[in-house]
């Protein structure tokens, strides 16, 4: 164990407990699970984006000697499972019955003795489709006469899903009407995919004797899944055990329930055997939750000398064929409302319209903190557009408008209460680390000398909103967004902490033990952290939206404090003094004024389980539970600066440097925070420069494999330069804020701003992500391309 000198027990750069198994290939991921008699499932998928299913002939597949079952939408309809509810209160086809509505949609499920035979049998299923015109371009989804994607919904005659607005429209219009300067920009945050290294999968085991269903599955929210299975399948909830074992990355991809999971359950019910289903990469990219796909029109009003006054936005949100977006019920556009960013403005207003298209469902995923990626990208691009129009330095423009430390807690114009921040200090640190003035001087020299070798400097200053959330306002399908912790100290002073959240690599087994260690003085190595098994852990909503530290981290600190208070009573009985006479130092209670007379937490644990006489009403043992209902979100923030070199001849962008200063309040484990930031910055570089999922006019998904959907490798990523400031969250028990998604939220704008800064002398105002060499080259030629469509 490694800890920092200042904090020998709890917080510090402790190396990870979970590494031991992963380093040796001894992790236990879903596809590693093997059960007696286990068989394999595979999904037949639609080749069309939009087509009527005329007939499905499964006879040849059923005749395959190794096939146990072929399940179609008709089979599921008989069980009332052909459709399932989504996290947005829509329904999604498990297996298509009437029509297919996106390419890659699930049409049939084969169960066979082995993985290869299951795939063989897919080839033997004969589906007769009648192709229909698809809705591919979201901007035409509401045109009169556009094909209706969801004719399954009663009375549905168009592709409109919802309208949502936030802010004060009248006041915003007033400010705009009087403003000296208005800058505006259309921008697309294109459809991307979280693409965790491990795809989605499940092993479902319905025990015909006990009637208990156990499902090992790639889920970030095992308890929510259990409840949903109970509601959807009509199984009693105590007869369902969801186990989320080691998860090979989630990034929001593994929040929702996918048809493959349901099919593996049905397969197990029908065959009486455990059924494993693990999707391929292409299936993962084509059918599971995409991210973004926001078409945004933003306007920013300001004075001539660069005082920002107001922002207004109109968004067209492409949600695909089923509204499966994961977000709290009252927030159909997630937390896009924080689009006013880090700036002190007078008024703001946003309108978001969601539409159906013939594409896979999703939207909220990929470290977006419920659409804050989009919100931050919008405001940080608008600031740069305004700086361009005003002829001002983008750093200076930001510095002039940042919220000041004495304004916190700050009530934003769209109703968010930012908890704490010292933005100018953080931006100044980033500018210093970058050597900003020298960089601008170098850029000026390069521009004077002309040539093809361009240089760009991009900034982003972001405010995140993570830790959903207060249950009064935030629920998912009626389940309030509180989370729990249970702590039990064993007689010998070792402990087990049970969590409702579920790590997918973020290091919870280490950091949550550190929180308990800090509160109780038990070594983190002596604390086992259990998560992911609904039979073993308390109820909660899981890990996404950087909510683990804000919600479950708080629950963990509170539960440890409860145990500490119980320990105080036991210590008072041991020491035969009043509890009022006891004082705590990390790891022991001692008598005030007599430090020698004390009992360690380990001694107290043993005594709590002994025949020691305790006061009336004190039950003995040393344990506690906590359900933490957060009073507010946490608002981490950061200042990012990206430096790029662009080859004007080829459009190739090289990220030369990336400076990231993050403030997430108290850092439980700085080493792990840095790792989270590194990963998120790579996401940002990938999204800004490489990752794109476009569609052709027939709705064919382009970018449906790693041959075309390009993720950054070690070669595209620079050595990240990190800095930190610490502005604790005043409402959080240990002052910690979430951070996992900050870098993914903040970095794309910095990279794009850098590339467009490089292109500034060529009169380029904006170009959409991904800024591939082709896109940059086209922008330089004055031929902007649409990155969401193959047809331009």
């Amino acid at each position: 164990m490694t800890t920092t000198e200042e904090t020998p027990m709890g917080f510090g750069r402790m190396h990870r407990k979970e590494d031991a198994r992963f380093l040796r290939g001894r992790g236990n991921y879903v596809d590693d699970v093997t059960l007696p008699g286990m068989v394999h499932g595979a999904v037949l998928r639609s080749p069309y984006a939009h087509a009527k299913i005329v007939s499905i002939d499964t006879s040849a597949a059923e005749a395959h000697p190794k096939v146990l079952a072929v399940i179609t939408g008709e089979t599921l309809a008989g069980l009332n499972l052909a459709w399932m509810p989504t996290l947005s209160g829509d329904v999604q086809a498990v297996l298509a019955t009437d029509k297919v509505r996106f390419q890659g949609q699930e049409v049939a499920f084969v169960v066979a003795e082995d993985r290869y035979s299951a795939r063989d049998a897919l080839e033997l299923i004969d589906v007769d489709y009648e192709a229909l015109a698809p809705v591919v371009d979201a901007r035409k989804a509401l045109d009169p006469g556009a094909p209706v994607v969801r004719d399954d919904l009663e009375g549905r005659t168009d592709n409109h899903i919802f309208d949502w607005e936030t802010g004060d429209k009248a006041r915003t219009d007033e400010v705009f009407a009087a403003a000296e300067v208005i800058a505006s920009q259309d921008m697309l945050y294109p459809r991307v995919h979280p693409a965790p290294m491990e795809t989605c999968g499940s092993v479902a085991d319905m025990d015909p004797v006990t009637g208990k269903l156990t499902i090992w599955t790639t889920t970030q929210a095992p308890h929510a899944h259990r409840t949903l299975y109970a509601l959807v399948a009509g199984l009693p909830e105590h007869k369902i055990r969801v186990v989320s074992p080691d998860i090979g990355g989630g990034f929001g991809n593994k929040v929702g329930i996918y048809p493959g999971y349901v099919c593996s359950i049905v397969g197990s019910i029908l065959t009486g055997k455990p059924v494993k289903w693990v999707e391929d990469r292409s299936e993962n990219l084509m059918s599971t939750s995409f991210a973004r796909d926001y078409h945004m029109h933003g306007e920013i009003a300001a004075t001539k000398d660069g005082r920002i006054l107001a922002i207004k936005v109109k968004v067209l949100a492409d949600h695909g064929a089923f509204n499966g977006t994961a977000q709290p019920t009252k927030y159909p556009a997630g937390f896009f409302g924080v689009f006013t960013g880090s700036y002190d403005i007078e008024a703001a207003h946003a309108e978001v319209t969601g539409v159906y298209t013939n594409k896979a469902p999703g939207g909220v995923a990929y470290a977006c903190s419920f659409r804050i990626t989009e919100a931050v990208y919008l405001v940080e691009r608008l600031i740069d557009v305004l700086a361009l129009d005003l002829g001002m330095d983008p750093a200076e423009l930001r510095m002039r408008n940042l919220l000041q430390p004495d304004q916190f807690p700050y009530q934003s114009k769209t109703g968010w209460e930012y908890d704490s921040g010292d933005y100018p200090r953080t931006l100044r640190l980033a500018l210093e680390m970058a050597g900003y003035d020298e960089l601008r001087a170098e850029q000026a020299r390069r521009r004077e000398s002309g040539g093809q070798d361009l240089m760009g400097i991009g900034l982003a200053f972001f405010t995140e909103a993570v830790g959903a959330g207060p249950r009064k306002h935030m629920d998912i399908l009626g389940l309030g967004m509180a989370d729990s912790a249970e702590l039990r100290v064993h007689p010998t002073g070792k402990a087990v902490l049970r969590l409702s959240v579920q790590s997918q690599g973020q290091g919870h087994e280490t950091t949550f033990a550190q929180i308990v260690a800090e509160e109780l003085g038990i070594s983190p190595d002596d604390i086992d952290v259990v998560h992911g098994d609904t039979d073993q852990t308390p109820f909660g909503l899981g890990t996404y939206g950087s909510r683990s530290t804000p919600v479950s981290g708080a629950a963990t600190a509170v539960v440890a404090r409860k145990v500490r208070e119980r320990a105080k009573i036991v210590a008072s009985a041991m020491l035969e003094v009043s509890t009022d006479d006891l004082e705590w130092e990390k790891g022991r209670w001692f008598v005030k004024g007599d430090p020698e007379a004390g009992k360690s937490i380990q001694d107290i644990a043993m005594a709590a389980h002994s025949n020691l006489e305790l006061p009336d009403g004190v039950e003995g043992h040393l344990d506690a539970t906590c359900v933490y209902n957060p009073p507010n979100l946490t608002y981490p923030f950061g200042a990012y600066i990206c430096v790029v070199d662009v080859d004007a001849g080829t459009g190739q962008v090289k990220v030369r440097r990336f400076i990231a200063v993050d403030d997430c309040g108290v850092r439980i484990n700085p080493m792990i925070v840095e790792g989270q930031v590194h990963g998120g910055l790579a996401d940002g570089v990938g999204m800004a420069l490489m990752q794109g999922m476009a569609f052709d006019e027939d709705g064919n998904h382009l970018g449906g494999s790693f041959m075309d959907y390009l993720l950054p490798t070690s070669m595209e990523c620079p050595s990240w330069e990190l800095g930190e400031t610490v502005t604790p969250s005043p409402h959080h028990p240990i002052g910690a804020k979430g951070v996992g998604e900050s870098a993914t939220v903040g970095s794309p704008a910095a990279v794009v701003n850098a590339v467009l800064d490089a292109l500034k002398p060529f009169g380029v105002r904006h170009a959409d992500m991904p800024l591939t060499p082709a896109a940059v080259w086209c922008a330089l030629q004055g031929r902007p391309i649409r990155t969401d469509l193959a047809i331009t």
């Binding site: 992963f22 380093l23 290939g25 992790g27 991921y29 990469r281």
Partner: protein, 177 residues
């Protein structure tokens, strides 16, 4: 058809279908699930193992092609409870998060250190280009590989891989013939 392979120092002989991928043979027939699958187009490198001392993506090798070969997987690296220096360096430098790319990343790192015992940052990044990671942003992996290099005798190559005791790297049994 019947194949005989040595995996992590133990000899196995099994009937396999000719179409069976090496990664599936390792995982499903031998139960060596430390080697994992991250894609279907040979891009990600999560399935990287050593075949006769050289790294290969085991999703792109048929099990029958490995007949008569020696294979080292992530599970064969630690000896007598001691981590291989590259495993240790990954831990020390926080070069893993979800752990899914880690087995392949470590096998590839050992291969690159065998070729270049003291790589600079650029050489490490080039050497790992065939291995995708979604969690770490690569920097701590690069740091770990360079750290490991400092803990391994230059030029000696990794001891754990010298299963035949010669330490000589033979050309790959497949692909070149």
């Amino acid at each position: 058809m019947r194949i005989t392979v040595t995996v992590d120092g133990t000899q196995y002989s099994d009937e396999v279908e000719p179409r069976t991928l090496l990664v599936h043979y390792l995982r499903e027939t031998l139960g060596k699930v430390g080697t994992v699958i991250g894609c279907d187009t040979s891009n990600c490198g999560a399935c990287t193992v050593h075949l006769n001392g050289q790294s290969v993506k085991s999703c792109s090798v048929l099990a029958v092609q490995a007949d008569g070969c020696e294979i080292t997987t992530i599970e064969g690296l630690a000896r007598d409870g001691q981590l291989h220096p590259v495993q240790q360096a990954f831990h020390d430098n926080h070069a893993l998060q979800c752990g899914f790319c880690t087995p392949g990343m470590i096998m590839q790192s050992i291969d690159l250190l065998a070729d270049n015992p003291d790589p600079d940052e650029k050489a490490v990044r080039e050497g790992l280009e065939g291995n995708l990671c979604r969690c770490t942003g690569y920097q701590n992996i690069v740091r770990a590989v360079r750290d490991a290099a400092q803990h391994m005798s230059p030029g000696a190559g990794p001891e754990a891989e010298r299963v035949d005791g010669s330490g000589v790297r033979e050309p790959s049994a497949i692909g070149g013939e």
